[in-house]
Amino acid sequence: MKTETEQNMGNVNIARRSFLRYAGAATVVGALAMQSCTKDNANDAVIEGGNNNGGSDITDIGSGDIGILNYAYALEQLEAAFYIQVVNSFSSEFTTDERALFTDIRDHEVLHREFFKAALGAKAIKGLTPDFSKIDFSKKTSVLGAAKAFEDLGVTAYDGIAFKIENADYLTLAGKIVSVEARHAALISNLITEGSFVDSDQVSATTGLNISNTPTKVLATANLFLKTKVSAKSFTF
């Protein structure tokens, strides 16, 4: 009893799935470009990533799902760069266990960064230059404080933009990553103060919901740690 519309919708879904698989076959760029052709205007946007925007030192993430993936890529670049520096110059105050945990987190963030870079291909924004001058890598408290800020920010960023994602497969990918960021966030919070993993700075004590943030707010914080500033002009909700 399927209507023609229904059948067409089903075919579109199958087509989308095939696209993703096709993307998997190392032809990511082409597939993403083709996919954007089949969708609404929000996804047909010109991606400004990869270039400086109008000569200023601001990189815009672009729009549509590609913009959101670039947003994630920008944040993962920041996190990866931070943990690489932490692990390369471990403060003597870190215990052996803590070093192992931070090395794991470095690995995860580098993998997230490399994943987005590979998935986005030519649509990826450029490599961002971090500015960690505000962080004292020789002091554990400084490193833990910055790590908490980055992890909490990551969780609120993914959750805050998720409803703008058009493609369900991308939403699932974001979900796969954000829970790992939340795991990091809880651990680091507990390393600072045992039992602070769901404190009210991040989790409402009345609803049990984690807070979330808009790209504008997230990038205002992220840009404090970036020489290459990032903007999200298409996501000013």
Binding site: M1, T3, E6, M9, L20, Y22, A26, V28, I84, V87, L101, T103, D104, R106, D107, H108, E109, V110, L111, E114, F115, Y158, D159, G160, A162, F163, K164, I165, E166, A168, D169, L171, T172, L173, G175, K176, I177, V178, S179, V180, A182, R183, H184, A185, A186, L187, N190, E194, G195, F197, V198, Q202, V203, S204, A205, T207, G208, L209, N210, S212
Partner: protein
Amino acid sequence: MNLFNVIEEIEKIDPEFNDRINPRRAAIKNITSFGSKVAVAAMPFAFATLFKKAYGQTPGTDVNSVLNFALLLEFLEAEFYNKGLAASSLINANDKANYFTKIARDENNHVAFLQGVLGTAAISKSSYVFDVTGGGAFADVLTNYDTFLKVSVAFEDTGVRAYKGQAPFLLKNEVVLGAALAIHAVEARHASAVRYLINKKLNLGLKPWITSDTKGNDTGIAAVDANYAGEDNIIQGGVTLTSLPAVGTSNSKKSATASFDEPLERAKVEALLVGSFIKPA
């Protein structure tokens, strides 16, 4: 069933519902004028089709159904932690104050939040019996703290997977997807904390993240293997993570599996819980 009341109810929790079905609004208006050609018995089908079009999913994955599935899981988690906290000399004072009082607070809040969102559409807790021993598989869960910790880890990790699995059904739904992911993040915070805690106590080599080196389940608790099935996936969005450029051990299988958490579909979550931890009243 009054279709228009139902749509109004949906709009309360999904303000964009009308926008979703907007192109077919005329069709909805016309439902009332189908006349005698459409038998009353056909209405549920027409309604199900409407949902399918609005959310692009089969019936059972509409917003209320997703939220009630979440509520059922939260009932179980809340019951588990409330009973654990109430059990005398199960949880030591430090862990009670720093971990389980907070986790129980969140789970009880999730129950209240979901009930508030669902309103009269919420399932009733009294329709179910919650057996925290899982039908006897974890018989000493309220007397042996090690067992309690193990069940807690499995519940939290599975909760994360369950919410993640439902996210696609809430695609583009600012309010409900936002709330579901906000709970999802809190479950992941819990999972991380309890994993860290159990590892400190039992030295299982367990990390706050699921590190699936040989199989999905990294907890060493064979009874929960199915809860972790598929966590050993190393291919994401078509990208083989272990082939990516590395810094240190970043592209190892351990790192690849730990850096992405996997969703679990509803039927599989229910298969793990219904009949053991959750039974009809």
